[in-house]
C-alpha cells in the first residue's frame, strides 16, 4: 500500500515537473514578447520614466495616490496588454502546483507522517511552498515577471532531488519523532520559500538597475522591459524577505528548543546550526544594509542573493557532505 501510494506520488511529481517546464517556456515567451513590444513603442528614457511613474504619480494629486503594492500593477496607460503566453503560463503553473500538491500529500499519506522528513521530501514540500508563496503573492501584487525564474528554479530543484535525493519511505528515526518536526521544519521551508521569491526579485532588481543606469545594451536590454523600476522591485523584495527573516528567526528558536529536547543542548555549533546562523546573520546584514546610507539598492540586493545562496548551500551541500547531527538526508 505504501509503495503503491508512493508510486502514484512519484508519477504526479513527474507530471508536475512537466507542466512546470511548459509554464517556464510560456513565461519566457511572455518576457520576450514584452521586451519586443516595449522596444517598439518606447525609448529607454520613457521606459525609465514609466518605471518610476508611480513615484511621480504620488504627488500628482488625490486621485492617484499610489502605494508600493500598486506600483507593481501595470496600470500605466499604454502598457502592453497581457499576452496570451502569460495567461497560459499562469494556468499551467496553477495546474502544475495542484499536481505537485497531490504528489506531496500522497507521499505524506504513504509515509504516515508529514512529508518533510528527508531531503527528497523536503525538496518536494519546499518547492511546493516556493510555488505556493509565489502564487499567493500574485493575489496581492503582480509579480508574474519572476514566473520564469521561479518555475525554472523549481523544475531544476525537483529534477536534482528526484535524481539525487530520492529515497523510499522509511520510518522516522527516534530523534525525529517529535512535534517539533512539524513546526521547526515547516517554518524553515516557509522561510526558504519567501527567501526564494525575495532573491528572484533581487535578481530582477539588479538587472533593472543596470538597465536604468544605461549599462545594459543589445538584446539583453529587451528582456526586463515592462516590469517595475528597481526601487519598486527593491521594496517588494524587502517586504518578502523580512517575512522570510521572521520565519528564519523562528526556525532558529524552534530548532534550539528541539535540540534542547533531543540532544540536551539548545545550541552546539553543529554544522547545520552554524549555517542556519550564518544565513540569519547575512539577512540581518541585508536589513541593516537597507538602512545604511550607500548600501540601499544594488548592494543590498547582492546581500539578499548571497544569503539565498547560503540557504541553497545549507540544504544541498551541508546536508549531504558535511558531518553533523542533522544527518537526515536518508542517502
Amino acid at each position: 500500500m505504501t509503495d503503491t501510494l508512493d508510486g502514484v506520488s512519484t508519477l504526479l511529481l513527474y507530471a508536475a515537473m512537466g507542466v512546470y517546464a511548459l509554464a517556464f517556456i510560456a513565461f519566457a515567451l511572455d518576457l520576450g514578447r514584452r521586451g519586443a513590444a516595449n522596444v517598439a513603442s518606447e525609448s529607454g528614457a520613457e521606459r525609465i520614466a514609466r518605471a518610476r511613474g508611480a513615484v511621480a504619480a504620488r504627488s500628482a494629486g488625490s486621485s492617484s495616490v499610489a502605494t508600493i503594492e500598486r506600483i507593481d500593477a501595470p496600470a500605466v496607460p499604454g502598457a502592453p496588454r497581457e499576452s496570451a503566453a502569460l495567461r497560459v503560463a499562469l494556468v499551467l503553473t496553477v495546474a502544475g502546483w495542484l499536481l505537485h500538491l497531490g504528489a506531496t500529500v500522497l507521499r505524506g499519506i504513504a509515509a504516515g507522517r508529514v512529508p518533510w522528513a528527508n531531503m527528497y521530501e523536503f525538496s518536494m514540500t519546499g518547492t511546493l511552498l516556493i510555488m505556493g508563496v509565489f502564487l499567493g503573492l500574485l493575489i496581492r501584487r503582480d509579480l508574474r515577471f519572476i514566473g520564469a525564474i521561479i518555475t525554472g528554479l523549481v523544475v531544476l530543484l525537483l529534477g536534482i532531488s528526484t535524481v539525487g535525493f530520492r529515497v523510499d519511505v522509511v520510518p522516522l528515526p527516534a530523534a525525529l519523532q517529535s512535534y517539533w518536526l512539524v513546526i521547526h521544519v515547516l517554518v524553515a521551508i516557509l522561510g526558504t520559500a519567501f527567501f526564494t521569491v525575495g532573491a528572484a526579485l533581487s535578481v530582477v532588481q539588479l538587472v533593472q538597475a543596470r538597465r536604468e543606469s544605461g549599462a545594459l545594451s543589445g538584446p539583453f536590454l529587451r528582456l526586463p522591459a515592462s516590469i517595475p523600476g528597481s526601487t519598486a522591485l527593491e521594496n517588494s523584495a524587502y517586504r518578502v524577505i523580512i517575512v522570510g527573516f521572521i520565519f528564519w528567526t523562528f526556525t532558529l528558536i524552534a530548532g534550539a528548543i528541539w535540540a534542547q529536547h533531543a540532544w540536551g543542548r539548545y545550541w552546539g555549533w553543529d554544522t547545520k546550526e552554524v549555517w542556519t546562523f550564518i544565513i540569519w546573520v547575512i539577512f540581518a546584514g541585508y536589513i541593516h544594509a537597507r538602512a545604511t546610507r550607500g548600501w540601499r539598492g544594488s548592494r543590498s540586493a547582492w546581500l539578499a542573493i548571497v544569503g539565498y545562496g547560503a540557504v541553497l548551500f545549507n540544504f544541498g551541500i551541508v546536508n549531504v557532505f558535511f558531518k553533523g547531527l542533522h544527518a537526515y538526508s536518508g542517502l
Binding site: 517586504r239 546573520v281 544594509a289 546610507r293
Partner: protein, 535 residues
Amino acid sequence: MSRSSDVARPSDHIETVEEAPEGPNAPKLGVIGTLRFFWRQLTSMKTALFLLLLLAIAAVPGSLVPQRSSDPNGVAQYKLDHPDLFPVVDAVQGFDVYTSVWFSAIYLLLFVSLIGCVLPRTRHHWEALRAKPPRTPARLSRLDHVEVRTTTGSTEELLQAAERILRRGRYRMTRYGDSVSAERGYLRETGNLVFHGSLVGILVAVAVGGSFGYSGQKLVVEGEPFVNYVGGYDSFTRGRLVGDASLDPYRVTLNGLDVKYETQNKNAVGQALDFTAAVTVQQPGQQTGYDTTIKVNHPLDADGTEVFLLGNGYAPRITVRDPDGNAVFSGAVPFLPQDANLTSVGIVKVPDGLPEQVGMIGFLYPTPTTLATGAQSSSFPGLQDPLLSLNVYTGDLGLDSGVPVSVYTLATDSLTQVAGRGTDTPGVDIGIGQTAQLPNGLGSVTLDGVSRYASLEIHHDPTQLWVLLFAVLVLAGLLTSLFVPRRRMWVKVRRGDDGEAIVEYAGLARGDDPALGTAVRELADAHSGPPAERT
C-alpha cells in the same frame, strides 16, 4: 525632519540628515575628540553591517573543520589524516572557532557597537514617548502623501471629527492652530530596541549559564544506578562557578532499556523505531523512588537537571574462571557499536587471578550471520542467538604503571596473542550460557548473558529559561519593529475664497511603510467622504 523629535539613529542611517563632511582644514580633534570619533565610527551603521558580515564569514571555518566542542572524535581523526596541517589549524584555534579569540572579538565588538547604538536610542525613545507629536509643517503639500478635500462645517467640528478618527487608529495627537498633528507606531522603535536588547540578554544569559551550568555523560548498564555527584560521571564538564557540592546527589537506576526495531518495511529492516529507558529515580535522603521513563526527545527532569538518553549498546555479561573454577572476573562489559546492526567491540582485561595477565578483544554479533567471505557479521541489531567471539592475549596489560588506561582499548603491541585471527588457535566463540576453555590452560570464559546499556547525558543549565525568554522577546521585537508602521499624520483646515473648508491630509513615514498612501486616503475618505470629483 528635525532630529529632536525623531528616533536617534547612527549618523549614517538612511533616515538621518547627512552632515556636511569636514574639510581638510578641520580643527584637530584632540584626545576626547578622537575617542568620540572612534566611538561614532564603532556605533555607525556601516560598522555594524561590516561586523555582521564579518561574523557570518568567521562562522564558516567552524563548519569545515571538526570542532572540539561538537565533534572531538573528528578532531582526533583530523590529526591522524593531516598531521602537518593539524598544528597550523590548531594554532589559529581552528578547532575551537566559536570560543576563539578572533571569533569572540568580532561578536563582542558587534555587541559593543550594538549597545552603543541602542542606549542613546533608548533614552531618546523614552523622551519621544512622553513628547507631543511634532509641529504641523507649514506646507503639507510638499510631503509625499497628501490628500486635499473640500467640505463643509466649522473648523472646530472638522478637527474634532479628525481627532475621533485618528483616536480609533490609536494615534497620539495634539493641536497646532487649525491643525491636528498625530503620530502612531511608537511600538516600532520599542520593538527594535527590545529586539537588540534581547540579543544582549541572550548573550549574557548564555555566559551566566556557562558559569553555573554543568554537563556530563554516564554509561549505565541495565540494573545499575547512576548517582549525580562529580565522581559518578564518566566525563564531566562544569562552569567556573560550579563547586562539588552544587550537584544534588539523586540516584537514577536503569531498570531496563527497551528498543524496538523495524521488521516489516523491507527498506528499513533493523532501523530503530523507539528507545525507552525504564528508570527509578530516588531523591537524596529518601528510601523509595518513583518509576518513570526516558525516551529520545523526552528527557527526565530531576532536581533541576535534565537526563537525556543519547545512545545505547550491548554489554555482554562475562565471567572468567581460573583453572580451578574460581571466578576471577565477572561483570557486564560495555561494547562499542561499530555498525547499524550493532556489531560491537569491547575489551575484557583480567589482570589478576590467572597464571598470566589476560586481555581479550571481544566481537559481539547480536544476530550472527556468516558472509560469503567467511567473515562473521550481524544481520540485525536485535538479539537473536548472539555470538561473542574473543581474541585472547597474554602479557603485561600495563595497568600497574599508574598511567590511566582506557577501558575501551587494549595495547596489543606488548602482548602475545594466543587465540583468534592471526594465530593457529581459533578465537573463542560462545553463545549465551556457553562456556569455553581459554587456550594454554589459562582458565575458562562464560557468556552469562547480554545486557543493554544506555548512554545518559545529564545537563544542568540554570539560565536556559532566560535564554528562551530573550529569544521569544527577540522574535516579538522583530515582528513589531518590522511590521508596525510608524507614521505621522496631519489634518489641517483652511478656508477657501467662498468660505468653504479645504482640508489637507498628509502622512509621513518613519521607516518602511508601504501602506502609508492608502492610510492617508482612507483618513480623508473617512473624514470628508469619498472625493466627489477627482482632480
